[in-house]
Assembly symmetry: none
Homo-oligomer: 231 residues x 4
C-alpha cells in the first residue's frame, strides 16, 4: 500500500507549520527529496508517493511543479550535475607544481566522490537507462566543460616542463581518475561484499585514496613506451 494514500479517515497530519505559500521553497524541497529517493531507488524504483510523503507537500504539488515523474527526474539530474561541477570549480591546485597538483587533484576528486555518493548513484542510474534522460537536458554539455579545463592546464604545464609523458591528454587523465573514484563508490556494495572489506573504513580508505595519487602520478611520470616491451 502506498503510504501517501488515505487509509483511515483520520490520517496523520505532521508538520503543519511553515507550510503554505512559499513556492520556491516548496519546489526546492521536492527537488531535494526527489534526489534522495531517485538516488536510493533508481528511476523505476522511486515512488512518487514516497517523495510526496517525505515532503511537506502533497503528491499533487509534485505534478503541479514538475508535470511528471520523468520531468522531475530530469530536474534532479540537471541540478545534481550543476552542483557537482560547481564544487569542482572550487578545487584550486594551479599554484602547485604539476606532479603535486595532479596528485592533489586526484585525491580531492576522490574525497569529492566519497562525499557525493548520491550524485554517483544518479549517474549510474542514468547509465542503466543508457543516457536517454541526460540527452534531453540542454546545456548539459556546457555544465560539464570546466571539468577538464584545469586538468588540461596542469597537464600541459607538466608536459612543457618535460616531466609528464606526451602521449596522454586531459580526457585520458580525467577518465582514469573518474573511473577509480566512481568505482569505489558505485561498486562498494558488491566489491566490498565479495572481498569482505569495507572500502570506506580506515585504514583501507586512506590507502585507496593515496593509491590513486600514486597510480596517476607514476603513469604520467613514466617515459612513453617504456612499459610496453618491444614486440
Amino acid at each position: 500500500m502506498k503510504d501517501g494514500e488515505l487509509i483511515t479517515s483520520h490520517s496523520v497530519q505532521q508538520h503543519e507549520t511553515l507550510r503554505k505559500r512559499d513556492p520556491e521553497r516548496t519546489r526546492a524541497e521536492i527537488l531535494a527529496v526527489s534526489t534522495e529517493v531517485f538516488a536510493a531507488q533508481g528511476y523505476s524504483g522511486a515512488r512518487v508517493d514516497e517523495i510526496a510523503d517525505r515532503t511537506r507537500t502533497t503528491k499533487r504539488m509534485i505534478y503541479y511543479y514538475f508535470g511528471s515523474k520523468e520531468q522531475l527526474y530530469l530536474a534532479v539530474l540537471k541540478k545534481a550535475y550543476s552542483g557537482i561541477r560547481e564544487a569542482e570549480r572550487a578545487i584550486q591546485v594551479c599554484s602547485l607544481e604539476p606532479t603535486e597538483a595532479i596528485r592533489q587533484l586526484a585525491e580531492l576528486t576522490y574525497d569529492h566522490h566519497v562525499r557525493n555518493s548520491d550524485f554517483i548513484r544518479l549517474v549510474m542510474i542514468e547509465n542503466i537507462h543508457r543516457g536517454v534522460f541526460i540527452r534531453q537536458i540542454e546545456s548539459m554539455r556546457e555544465i560539464v566543460e570546466p571539468a577538464v579545463g584545469m586538468l588540461d592546464e596542469i597537464l600541459t604545464r607538466g608536459q612543457n616542463e618535460g616531466v609528464f609523458r606526451h602521449d596522454v591528454d586531459a580526457f585520458d587523465v580525467h577518465l582514469l581518475i573518474s573511473a577509480y573514484c566512481v568505482f569505489q563508490v558505485a561498486n562498494q556494495y558488491t566489491f566490498g561484499y565479495l572481498f569482505g572489506r569495507d572500502l570506506h573504513a580506515a585504514p583501507l580508505s586512506g590507502h585507496l585514496r593515496s593509491m590513486l595519487g600514486d597510480v596517476v602520478v607514476s603513469w604520467l611520470l613514466a617515459p612513453e613506451g617504456t612499459a610496453r616491451p618491444v614486440t
Copy 2:
C-alpha cells in the same frame, strides 16, 4: 563462447519447434531472457510479462520454475557471476614474465568487460540496490575467489624478481583494473555523451585499452614513494 558464459542477445529466438517437455531447456531459456531484461531495465524496471513474451513459455512457467521475480533475479545474478568467473579462469598469462603478464591480464580483462556488458550492468543494478540480493546468494564469495589468485601469483613473482614495488597487493591491482574496466562500460553513456566521444569506437577504444596496460605497469614498476614528494 563457452557454455558457462552469459547467453547474449537474441540467442534464443531460434527454432520454434521442439518446444514442450524439456525442463532444462525451458529453465535455461527463461534465465537467458531474464538476464537480458534485468540487465536492460534494472530490477524494478524489468517486467515479468516482458520476460515471458520474449520466451517460448508463459509467465506462469516463470513462477513455476523460479517462484518470484526476486528469486528469478537472484538466479540471474548467480549465473552471471559464475559465468564471468569461469571465463576469468580461462585467462592464461602465467608463462609470461611479470610485466607483460600483468599487461596482458589487464587488457584481456578489458576485452572481457567490453564483451560482457550485461554482466557489468547487473553489477551496477545490484549496487543500486546496495547489494541486498547478492548477500542472499550463498557460495557467492567462493565463486569470486579465483579472481585474484592468478594476479597474486604474478605480482609475487614480480616482487620477488625486484621488478614490482612492494607496497601493493593483488587486491589493489584488481581494484584498479576493475575500476577502469567497469567504468568504460558502466559509464559509457554519460561519459561518452558529455565528452562527445564513443568509448567503444576506434581509435579511442584501442587507445583506452592499451592505456590501461600503461597505467598498471608504470604504477607497479615505479619505485615506492618516488612519486610522493617529501612533505
Copy 3:
C-alpha cells in the same frame, strides 16, 4: 436499526445519484458491502472484486481506503463487534426481579443473535482463523467489556437475595447463553439439515427461544450440588 449496528443486506443499492466526493459515505459503503461478503464467503473465499462490484466505487478505492484485503477484514471485524456491543448496551432489564431479568436477558440475546447472523458468521470465520485477526485489533477487549457487566449485576442481586446458586459467576452464565444463541445461528445449516428441521421457523423457533430461558433459570435456581449425586 441503530447507526452502530451492522448494515444489513441490500442496504446500499439505493440512489445511484449523489455519487462522488463523499469519502465518509464511500468508506462506509465499502465497509457495509465487505461485511456482507466476508460473512457470506469467509476471508479466503471473499473476493475483492466482488466487493467492488457490489459497491458504487471501484476495487482501486478499496485499496485506497483500506490498504489491503486483510486490513479491510480487520475493519469489518472491528465494526461488527462495536455494533454488537452497542446493541447489547441497549438491553435494559435492571428494573426486573433477578429471575425474570435473567430470562429476559437470555431471550433478548437470543433474538439479537437471530437478527445479526452476519456477525455470528464473522465470529465463526475468525475462529476458523484461530483468532489471528482479532488479536491485531487494539481496543477489542474494551469493546467487549460491557457484555458481562449487566449480567454480573443481576446475578449478584439474585445471589444476595438467596434466590440464585452461588457457585456460578457472570462469565459462566454469559458462556451458556452465548453457546446456545451462537449455536442456533452458527450451526443452523448442518443441525437443521441432519434433523430435518428449520431452527428458525415457527413453532420450533419459539420453543427454542423460551427453552433457553428455562435452561438458564432452572440452573440458577437449583440448589448447589443437588443435581450432583453423592459419589
Copy 4:
C-alpha cells in the same frame, strides 16, 4: 509460490520408501491429510498443493483418486461424520439411573468434542458454506440417527419415572448439549481472547465440564413452568 511446484531443478525427494503400489493406503493418507488441511484452513483457504506436499504422493494423485477439490472435501466431510457417530455409539450409559446417565452423557460428549476439534471445525466450515456440501452426501442423515437414540431412551425412562419434566424431548436436550460442547471448541479463540481465559486449561476446563452436567440435569429436574412466572 506454491510449495508443490518445481523451483530448482534439484528439488527435494523425501521419504521415497514405502511409496508405490498401495492404492488403499495412498487414498487413506490423502484423506487424513486433507482432513487436517481443510479443518485448519477452511474450504477456500485449503490448498491442493499443501495437501499434496504433506502427503507422500503428488497433486496429480489427488485428482486421480478424488477428481476435484470439492469431491475431496466431500469425502473428508463424510468420513468425519462417520467417525464421529461411530465414536458416539461407543458411549454406554444405559445401565445408570436417568439423572446420572444424562449427566454422564453430557460430560462424555463434552470430552468427545474437546478431543475432536477437527471435526467441529469441519462442521463450522460447512455451516459457513450454508450446508451446500453436506446436502450432496447421500446417507448423511442415516449416519446421524443413532445420535439421539440413546438420549431418547434415557429421557423417556426419566419421564416415566416422574423425575424429568415432560415438555422436553431428545432433540431439545441434544441441541442444548451440542450447543454447549460445540461452542467451547468452536469459539475458543474469540471467546478465550476477549475474556482473557483459556477454556481448555485447568481449572476452568474442569469447571466448564461439570457445569454442563449441572445445567442439563437441573433443567430436566425442574418442574415444568416453575421458572416461568405467571404473566
